[in-house]
Symmetry: C2
Subunit: 233 residues, 2 copies
Amino acid sequence: MTESQPGASKGAFADPEYAEAVVDLLGAIAYGELAAFERLADDAKLAPGLADKIALSSMAASEFSHLAQLEDRISELGADPYEAMEPFRQALDDFHAHTAPSDWYEGLVKAYVGDGLARDFYREIAAYLDPETRALITEALEDSQRSAFIVEKVRAGIAADHRLGGRLALWGRRLMGEALIQAQRIAAERDAMTALLAGGVDRPGLDLAAIGRMFTRLTERHSERMDELGLEA
Amino acid sequence: MTESQPGASKGAFADPEYAEAVVDLLGAIAYGELAAFERLADDAKLAPGLADKIALSSMAASEFSHLAQLEDRISELGADPYEAMEPFRQALDDFHAHTAPSDWYEGLVKAYVGDGLARDFYREIAAYLDPETRALITEALEDSQRSAFIVEKVRAGIAADHRLGGRLALWGRRLMGEALIQAQRIAAERDAMTALLAGGVDRPGLDLAAIGRMFTRLTERHSERMDELGLEA
């Protein structure tokens, strides 16, 4: 077992703290999809034309495709899906309130960078979970491949106006900063999830050095995404 | 051939005016789905709780499920999907701007009544079209069955507060009135669609008496829906 695939066994659910942590995580992802839906649907209003509006709206709609599965799984684990989502509502709503795009391009970069960050973060955590939960999360976070259109649009925008590149690079850093602030807040408030990362008697966990490496990986992937958009990280 | 199923044959596309009218109609339905998505996503913000918000948001997301097919068909007919939608933008945006719900219940009634009206209207027109177009439209307007939750919520709301029933009954009439105003505006502006209803040399059409009967049917179905919600039409 390597650090990147240290997963818990299915038997881990015998530990009530493990089950609680999984419910927490699924609740966070589910509310994240709902919040992303709302914000993408809003941000689509900034689109300069119908084709662009439809492209971003359909990314919004696709956030819904896995929500029912997440809700079902939370119920199977004996918890109420809406109660499970509630603790993450404030942090995720605050993230979106503090990163409301002021124009179409900021909306595109946010959709690309924000989505990517969330996906990477949850996948990192999923590596420490039982195979079934891991598969559910991986599927829920599946990239819809629609985001190729974002790369194309942002690069075209920068090619047409070089100042845009500088502004969007700053914007990307602000998104990363806000995401870290809210992630830290969740970590401080949700003991079960933090305990999950720390491991248990029969589950491998992350020590501080491993958490540091995880953040390094997240930052590297963020830089790669910025690079794909033609932006300095 | 009866009045309710008088459909044109597939050969009707040899008539350029027929093809133009079909493009018009598909453009109207496609933009209608986009506009409905936007407004439902907005109206979901009025939900009193997470479960309700998710129910309405997922109705919004489902508006997207057939949009790609409509766009493809418009392209096959040699037209640009976004240009085809454009002429209906103002009327549909105006409809939504003039019927912005002031609370959660108005949003629910609008989703139920507005969706139903649009579906009935397009199905009436689809009866005059070639089988392939008719099938595409019928499928695009398929009821997602999710609306049962609306009936339940509205009835429960009225049971808890009888004044709500009076207010929502007025609201339902206003929705019908605005829908008729915008439909009339579209009919006045879009010659191809009006010509479609009037028929052609080798296509049966509607005379004034038949149009009158169609509106009677639409009004009757509207009354039935209001009745389902526990509201006087």
